[in-house]
Symmetry: C2
Subunit: 200 residues, 2 copies
């Protein structure tokens, strides 16, 4: 028997094929042209480019490479657990446990060292404590806000979301991108004035 020169490759290829399923996980957010709802793969791509662009506003200095990796993998658990709409209280029951099991399975496909690296980035994103995780979470909230503001209220209007709910949801932007927070407040208040966000 000769040694297998690429022992990691089958697991890596299996993972690469598995994550293709994220392109079929549809979020509530509309594309900015209003043509359809966004899927979680293209959403993650959008966040990764935002991560490159907005570092100057992060609350604390961030490692952009770690942040890119984090946002690229932050939704992979949805392959098993599905996307839960942020404003759906019932749907969010048991979400944490569903996603933890999904993380075990999905990241478990990879060779151990790589699986552990990506799993730890996912845990870090969820805990939202480190500068990169706070920045990544802020991006993850800012992007759908921009989409809603550019699709006549988008999911706010469709689901009759209230002002206080939006402020609560956007809290990670205040924490992770404090300089941008006044811009977010203006977008929310304008959307309230237009009637795209419901009164409390």
């Amino acid at each position: 028997m000769i040694d297998n020169p690429m022992p990691d490759l089958p697991a890596q290829l299996a993972f690469i094929l598995e994550i293709d399923k994220l392109k079929g996980v549809v979020r509530q957010t509309l594309l900015t042209d209003g043509s359809r709802r966004e899927n979680s793969a293209e959403h993650s791509w959008h966040l990764a480019i935002m991560a490159i662009l907005l570092t100057q506003y992060a609350a604390a200095p961030v490692d952009v490479a770690r942040t890119m990796k984090m946002v690229l993998v932050h939704d992979l658990v949805e392959i098993d657990a599905g996307d839960t709409f942020a404003y759906d209280a019932a749907g969010n029951v048991g979400k944490e446990e569903r996603e933890r099991l999904a993380a075990n399975r999905v990241f478990g496909i990879l060779p151990e060292v790589q699986g552990r690296e990506l799993r730890e980035l996912w845990d870090e994103f969820e805990e939202a404590v480190t500068p990169e995780a706070r920045y990544a979470n802020a991006l993850d909230r800012l992007q759908p806000l921009l989409h809603n503001a550019n699709t006549e209220g988008g999911t706010w209007r469709i689901h009759n979301v209230k002002r206080a709910q939006v402020y609560k949801r956007m809290e990670p932007v205040r924490i992770g991108l404090p300089e941008i927070w006044p811009v977010v407040v203006k977008i929310i208040e304008d959307a309230c004035a237009t009637g795209w966000i419901a009164r409390d």
Copy 2:
């Protein structure tokens, strides 16, 4: 007049909204479940994760952060220039000039320093000379090959693509991921045997 504390932000937000259009640029490649064709935004996301995973096989040591950035932006020119199918000779006439003009406009939306950084990464990808660009180009060819192999020949079969055309198209994998090349050869030869790739 007080100084604007965030002179870059309007251009950055305009770019973030502009690139949403890439989600509407549809490629030939099918998703691995065969349900629909892939768009260039989710394709770019897929490549960025592959860039994290396959560095150990790159022909020369690569900076993974630079590679991720490169693949994240490598298709942005398609917002104006559209996706040109690799095996469409007529469609590829004038492609270079169309894409250059598109790069001028799209990257030109950004603040100058950021626009230049991303534009240079796009130029570097196109020139395919640096280790990162060779690695990125290899990923960009490997991913649709994996999709074709998992969708009963996918675009090879649909467009009656010939063996020699596939080998020519896959050349960047031989250059950028030489260790993986034997795996690619096996996939191509198996697809020829099954009749998914046409005889020369």
